[in-house]
Amino acid sequence: MLQTQDRAVILNRLNQIIGQQLGLTNIHLSESTTAKEVPGWDSLAHVTIILAIEKEYQFKLRTSEIGKLQDVAGLVDMILQRGVIKAS
């Protein structure tokens, strides 16, 4: 069952996912954060982050989209649009 959730809730979850993939505890990403600003978020980490998000929200990014999502706001948009937001 789909529930509309705050961007804030998604952002919180993204902090957890991205933090885990980068091996960083207590990261505080805001919607305006870009990949370049985050230590360790290189193209290698980008793939693992995308895969983790796809798994969490059960959708697949299109080929052309994978490389383009280099900022947190874009990720939140994508999840709201296409992801399956489960009741937590």
């Binding site: 885990q20 290698l44 793939v47 693992t48 798994k55 080929t63 994978i66 490389g67």
Partner: protein, 608 residues
């Protein structure tokens, strides 16, 4: 195995089938621990690939440390396989790898083995492409002391030929399979094949291929398969290093049979087809263990039972597949299992790390794990139907296969088998002969060729026209004075060697054939026409007007008559002893042949 690193890994013991996220977390954790504990003499492994390995390498590092030994890994820059191999000063050789792994890219291979409606053509180009990679691998061996592994290619999952993709020589799966076959046939010592294809099939080919990841970042396959790939690889290396497990120590009750022998008795335990589905499942498991034993794995029993009670089924129960003599050690008593395992290891003269302990009881498993951490413990849970897969997929006993194939088998015999296969598939003779690319060579018998030519004269029974068998001396004499010719044949599959010999003499205006033999190996190749054309040339140069031969019939050379007639010979006279005189007038046209003359350069490098 190093102590502290392994301990910390054990606390995160994920399964090979765990998803990529879990593999990645475990790999990162291991990497962080390694930073303060550099390993002495790690295994050095170099990877050469045309795909992205960045995420695979840490997972491999983790599994290698778990299963064998810590590693140091070098990955060549993307798509530099050939240059890294061929340049003696490349980073690959500076790295001094213990193992070099080549990961072949399916699309690149398919470009070299194009679709073609003829199977033999596809097989031919597959063999060539496989040969090219084997040659590259060999040049690595020439430049450094190492062992090369070549990963077998994985077929694409949506080939253009659809339902026929694996069956038609125009399909991509078919062509990939032929390449793998050729690799298997050609692989020499110092090179091992890594069966990545089977891992892909086990994982599921449709899930294996992730086109979006390939197009985006050239990842060759689904990252969720990295666990099984890395585990498989580490067990392969373990096998190559002699670290495959040697002994399988088994519990009895609920492991080798259903029920408890002490309580249910000989007639109560469930084993064998008469004991229903459960009995069949246990029998299958016993059968699997018996086959492991065939491959050199030692079997032992470690059971909490009275010795005589435990022994009985192996001697008396009809449903048992494993018998008493299949076991190298048998400890059935009321001592704790750790002590028994120590006893077994000592008796069989192996280290504890060579033992695999298999038990259905989680308490026993846990106890042994804690008491003897070097022993590999396998807990068989629930259903005996899954026992084989549970044990098998741990790859504990896997060893590299050493083929007993006789490598001295002459190339000619192997090529002959291939020719036979090709012939069976041919549509019609002309096209088939043309596709063979037959090349003939001829010459006058000399010191180098006399032995073989004389042998052929003496041992050929079917196509032997005159059955005259001169001595070696007579033949040598003749080769100086008259005409003694040898004929050699090769086709695209290989060399036939010298396959026909003619002894002839010009008398007046007749070229008289005194002996003519042809090896049955060369039948149906139009060789007789090739020979005839040579004889016609010789006759013309000696101003002869006719070629003649006296056919002497035997019980075995009947086919000569038809062959001579087809060449244009005519029966002229039958003598009292049934010898038949055949003649060929030189005014007649020369018979056509599918055999082309070998070029002069090729004649120089041809071998006897």
């Amino acid at each position: 195995m190093s102590g502290t690193v392994v301990e910390s890994i054990e606390t995160h013991s994920i399964a090979p089938t765990a998803c990529f996220q879990e593999q990645w977390q475990a790999a990162l954790q291991y990497q962080r621990q390694c930073l303060d504990k550099p390993s002495l003499n790690p295994i050095r492994i170099a990877f050469l690939a045309a795909s992205t390995l960045d995420h695979l390498v840490p997972v491999i590092r983790y599994w290698m440390a778990r299963e064998t030994f810590p590693t140091e890994i070098y990955v060549a820059p993307f798509r530099t396989i050939e240059t890294e191999i061929l340049d003696s000063n490349s980073a690959l050789y500076e790295f001094k790898p213990d193992y070099v792994v080549l990961l072949l890219e399916t699309n690149d291979l398919l470009a070299q083995v194009p679709a073609h409606p003829y199977r033999q053509i596809v097989r031919e180009s597959a063999a060539r492409e496989a040969g090219r990679w084997i040659a590259l691998a060999k040049s690595v061996l020439e430049k450094t002391a190492t062992h090369v592994l070549i990963a077998t290619p994985v077929p694409p999952s949506d080939g253009p030929m659809g339902l026929q993709d694996a069956l038609s020589p125009e399909g991509s799966a078919y062509r990939v399979q032929r390449i793998t076959e050729a690799l298997v046939e050609q692989v020499p010592a110092g090179i091992t094949l890594w069966d990545l294809t089977s891992i892909a099939y086990a994982f599921g080919l449709h899930a294996w291929h992730q086109p979006a990841l390939w197009f985006h970042s050239k990842h060759a396959f689904n990252l969720d398969a990295y666990g099984i790939v890395a585990h498989h690889f580490s067990r392969l290396i373990a096998g190559l290093r002699g670290q495959a497990k040697k002994v399988c120590v088994l519990d009895l009750d609920q492991t080798l049979w259903g029920g408890v022998i002490g309580d249910d008795g000989l007639n109560g335990i469930r084993i064998g087809v008469d004991a229903g589905a459960e009995g069949e499942a246990y029998a299958a498991f016993q059968g699997y263990l018996k086959e492991l034993r065939q491959q050199g794995v030692l079997l032992a029993v470690c059971s909490k039972n009275e010795h005589e009670t435990a022994k009985e089924p192996f001697l008396k129960h009809e449903g048992m597949v494993l018998k008493w003599q299949d076991f190298a050690a048998f400890e059935a008593n009321w001592n704790n299992k750790a002590d028994n395992l120590l006893k077994i290891a000592q008796k069989l003269n192996v280290g504890l790390q060579s033992l695999v302990f298999v038990d259905d009881n989680p308490v026993e498993c846990d106890y042994v794990k804690r008491a003897l951490p070097e022993v590999t413990v396998v807990h068989l849970a629930d259903d005996p139907a899954h026992y084989i897969s549970t044990l098998s997929r741990l790859r504990l006993f896997d060893k590299p296969h050493v083929t007993q194939e006789d490598r001295h088998r002459t190339g000619m015999i192997a090529a002959e088998l291939e020719r036979e296969a090709a012939q069976r598939l041919a549509i019609n003779t002309d096209i088939f002969l043309d596709s063979l690319d037959l090349r003939g060579e001829k010459g006058s018998v000399d010191g180098a060729t006399i032995e073989r030519s004389w042998q052929l004269l003496h041992k050929t029974n079917q196509f032997n026209v005159t059955t005259r068998t001169p001595t070696l001396q007579e033949m040598t004499q003749k080769s100086h004075e008259g005409i003694v010719r040898w004929y050699r044949l090769r086709d695209r599959f290989g060399e036939y060697g010298i396959v026909s010999v003619v002894i002839a003499e010009s008398q007046d205006q007749r070229l008289v054939i005194e002996a003519w033999v042809m090896s049955c190996r060369a039948f149906q190749r139009t060789l007789e026409a090739f020979v005839m054309r040579d004889l016609i040339e010789l006759a013309q140069s000696r101003h002869c007007t006719v070629i003649e031969v006296l056919y002497r019939p035997t019980t075995r050379n009947g086919l000569v008559v038809g062959a001579l007639r087809q060449l244009g010979f005519q029966e002229v006279q039958v003598l009292a002893n049934h010898d038949t005189l055949f003649t060929f007038a030189l005014s007649q046209p020369a018979p056509p042949t599918a055999i082309r003359n070998k070029e002069h350069e090729m004649a120089l490098i041809s071998q006897e």
